[in-house]
């Protein structure tokens, strides 16, 4: 099977995309008989399409590529639709059967548009895929992450964007996958695009989101906080203990906490040593954001709330009262 990896070097996340894609090639892709694809070397060959907007990034980006063979394409930043313009000819003409893109919205857009245009099949947010003789079998979250769905992709190219969780602790490309790079082509496709539909793109600061991703001690407020005041009391208790403060989607959507405090699907995926969840039921969307925590404590009066079974320790009581009592004991 010939595959292509797409690396979007027009944004600052290129290194984590590359590490996640390399991890997926090692552990997420199998040959359908259960063997990791990297072990079944002979049957797989691939190249990486590295998109860049600035010539100065080229060298660094090539080094990130998880395959030896690299094709460089200069393009307009943040335009997955234009990246597909550059991919369509090589994918159709080069016999590429499987295209892998990074997790996140841009990767999903490239995979989806490419599948539409090349009349292939798309799987977004793939947890794993297995290459069969006729079909590609893949798994991804469905029903708002309550279940995992198994899918079969028929038409080729199979366009797959990987799940964002592949960025977790992703390692650098190993030598077996990146043994020095060979640049097969370098094309400038920026001139060809006369479209300028999106202008004045400006990246804004998101200070708290970065803090939460690196947090070692996290307190998360759920809808059980009951009000903005309740959420603020939990935030104050967190501060007293030297913990970072995050919030579930219902809390943020009620403006009880700022948007950059959001933990969960489409918010932050944290990996703290200790995570105390106050008054959240622990719906899958939130759980995705805390499941990497080494130790989870649930403070919730409802013994049937999923968070209780999904915690290491639980206190079945009013979360606000317990977290404030805890803040008097724990010192930073």
């Amino acid at each position: 099977v010939r595959f292509a990896v797409v690396l979007d070097g027009t944004v600052a996340t290129a290194a984590s995309q590359a590490a996640a894609l390399a991890g997926f090639l090692c552990d997420g892709l199998s040959d359908g008989r259960g063997a990791a694809a990297s072990e079944a070397h002979g049957e797989l060959s691939g190249e990486t399409f590295v998109f860049y907007a600035d010539d100065r990034d080229k060298r660094r980006l090539v080094d990130l590529a998880p395959t030896r063979d690299v094709r460089l394409v200069k393009t307009t930043a943040r335009r997955p639709d234009l990246m597909v313009d550059s991919l369509i000819a090589p994918v159709r003409g080069g016999g590429i059967e499987l295209v892998l893109t990074a997790g996140g919205a841009a990767g999903a857009e490239v995979a989806t548009r490419l599948a539409c245009r090349a009349r292939g099949a798309v799987l977004t947010g793939a947890l794993s895929v297995a290459v069969g003789s006729e079909q590609l079998h893949g798994r991804r979250a469905v029903y708002s992450s309550h279940l995992i769905g198994r899918f079969a992709l028929s038409a080729r190219p199979w366009c797959v964007s990987i799940d964002a969780s592949w960025s977790d602790g992703a390692r650098d490309p190993g030598p077996e996958l990146a043994p020095g790079h060979e640049i097969l082509s370098d094309t400038d496709e920026t001139r060809g695009s006369q479209v300028a539909s999106i202008e004045d793109v400006e990246l804004l600061e998101a200070p708290a989101a970065n803090v939460l991703a690196r947090s070692r001690f996290l307190v998360v407020a759920g809808y059980g906080a009951g009000s903005r005041e309740g959420a603020e009391r939990i935030a104050r208790a967190a501060r007293r203990m030297g913990a970072d403060f995050g919030a579930s989607r219902p809390v943020v959507m009620n403006s009880w906490a700022p948007l950059d405090r959001l933990i969960g699907v489409s918010g932050c995926r944290a990996a703290p040593v200790l995570c105390i969840v106050v008054g959240a039921s622990g719906a899958p969307a939130l759980h995705w954001g805390i499941e990497r925590a080494a130790f989870v404590v649930a403070l919730n009066p409802d013994e049937h709330a999923p968070i209780v079974a999904n915690s290491d320790a639980a206190v079945l009581d009013d979360g606000l009262t317990v977290i404030e009592a805890l803040a008097e004991i724990v010192r930073p």
């Binding site: 944004v11 996340t13 943040r78 639709d81 996140g104 919205a105 857009e109 989806t112 539409c116 245009r117 798309v122 977004t124 947010g125 469905v142 029903y143 708002s144 992450s145 309550h146 279940l147 995992i148 769905g149 198994r150 899918f151 079969a152 992709l153 028929s154 479209v195 300028a196 539909s197 999106i198 202008e199 004045d200 793109v201 400006e202 990246l203 804004l204 998101a206 001690f217 989607r249 948007l259 489409s266 040593v273 200790l274 039921s281 719906a283 130790f295 404590v297 209780v308 079974a309 999904n310 915690s311 320790a313 639980a314 206190v315 079945l316 009581d317 009262t321 009592a325 805890l326 724990v330």
Partner: protein, 315 residues
């Protein structure tokens, strides 16, 4: 045709035409762990008796569009709002509400021919699609985002002549998150995802805020675009006053068959290239040790001494 228009300013002399699409879904929070385990074994989720809710991202989209129309009106620019949902009769109360709130048109496309509708033809006498068949058709559409996108794109192009399409970035049960991209691809438009705000910029352009994979962005839009709404702070659809409801009660919800839009649902479903073949449960359980004590304070003390003290020392 507006759909392929490029390089022109967004709002034409006639105003900005905004199509907002929404989905009414089962409230998954109402299902228990045991229900999900049973669903995985059976290969299907039983949601007929679960209450319905607006997909949360679509709800943001509906309210964002109302606010955009108000902001444009303040600048003397007209905006025309269209609402579209693919669903059975259960979506009509939502469409009625949107008409009362000032949406110009509210349209429902049934997932299957309905008894009493023109396209059900002679099958009206009890042999047309009943509630159960509509449920089955709906469930089948959940995992065929290509069909949903074809209906949205055809409606935007043929009926609404939209300049802007606003919809939630994803919705359960399918969760593919691909509908906005497919619509944009069909119309040859760009797509912005995780949109959180949209506001007029001057008379002819829009300023959009969205959350990219590498952080929040702000940008300017001049051409038709698909906006896939993410975690917008504007998350609740306003409630119409009784006066609004009375003033607009005569406005009908339009029901349009997919075939009228040139979309052959059955043929598209047969051509689907990504099929759901099974379901698996996810085991998220941990030890779940319950800390006992006579009072919240006592429980906090036990929690600290039995678990937290050792962990906190390692930080």
């Amino acid at each position: 045709v507006s759909a392929t228009r490029q390089g022109a300013d967004l709002a034409r002399a006639s105003g900005l035409r905004v199509l907002v699409c929404f989905k009414v879904t089962p409230d998954f929070e109402a299902l228990r762990d045991a229900d999900w385990r049973a669903a995985a074994t059976r290969g299907a989720v039983e949601t007929r008796y679960v209450r319905r809710v607006l997909n949360c991202f679509d709800e943001s989209a509906l309210e964002l569009a109302l606010r955009l129309a108000e902001a444009l009106a303040q600048r003397g620019v007209a905006a025309e709002l269209d609402a579209l949902s693919i669903g059975g009769r259960e979506v009509e109360p939502y469409l009625k509400t949107l008409l009362a709130l000032g949406y110009e048109r509210a349209t429902r496309v049934p997932p299957a021919p309905e008894p009493g509708s023109a396209d059900a033809g002679l099958a009206v006498a009890g042999t047309g699609a009943g509630a159960d068949e509509t449920d089955v058709a709906q469930a089948e559409l959940d995992f065929t985002p290509g069909v949903v996108a074809a209906i949205v794109a055809a409606y935007a192009e043929r009926v609404a002549h939209s300049d802007l399409i606003v919809l939630g970035w994803r919705s359960g049960p399918g969760d593919s998150g691909t509908v906005p991209f497919r619509v944009a691809e069909t119309l040859d438009w760009p797509c912005l995802t995780q949109v959180t705000e949209v506001a007029p910029l001057g008379d002819r352009r829009l300023q959009v805020a969205c959350t990219a994979d590498d952080g929040p962005l702000r940008l300017t839009l001049r051409d038709p675009c698909v906006l896939a709404v993410g975690n917008a702070v504007v998350s609740r659809l306003r409630v119409p006053t009784l006066k609004d409801r009375l003033a607009r009660r005569e406005r009908p919800v339009e029901v349009l068959a997919a075939a009228d839009l040139g979309v052959d649902i059955a043929a598209l479903r047969r051509r689907e290239t990504c099929r759901l073949t099974g379901l698996e449960t996810i085991d998220r359980s941990r030890r779940g040790v319950v800390i006992e004590g006579p009072s919240p304070r006592a429980k906090a003390r036990t929690l600290f001494s039995s678990c937290l003290r050792d962990i906190l020392e390692t930080l």
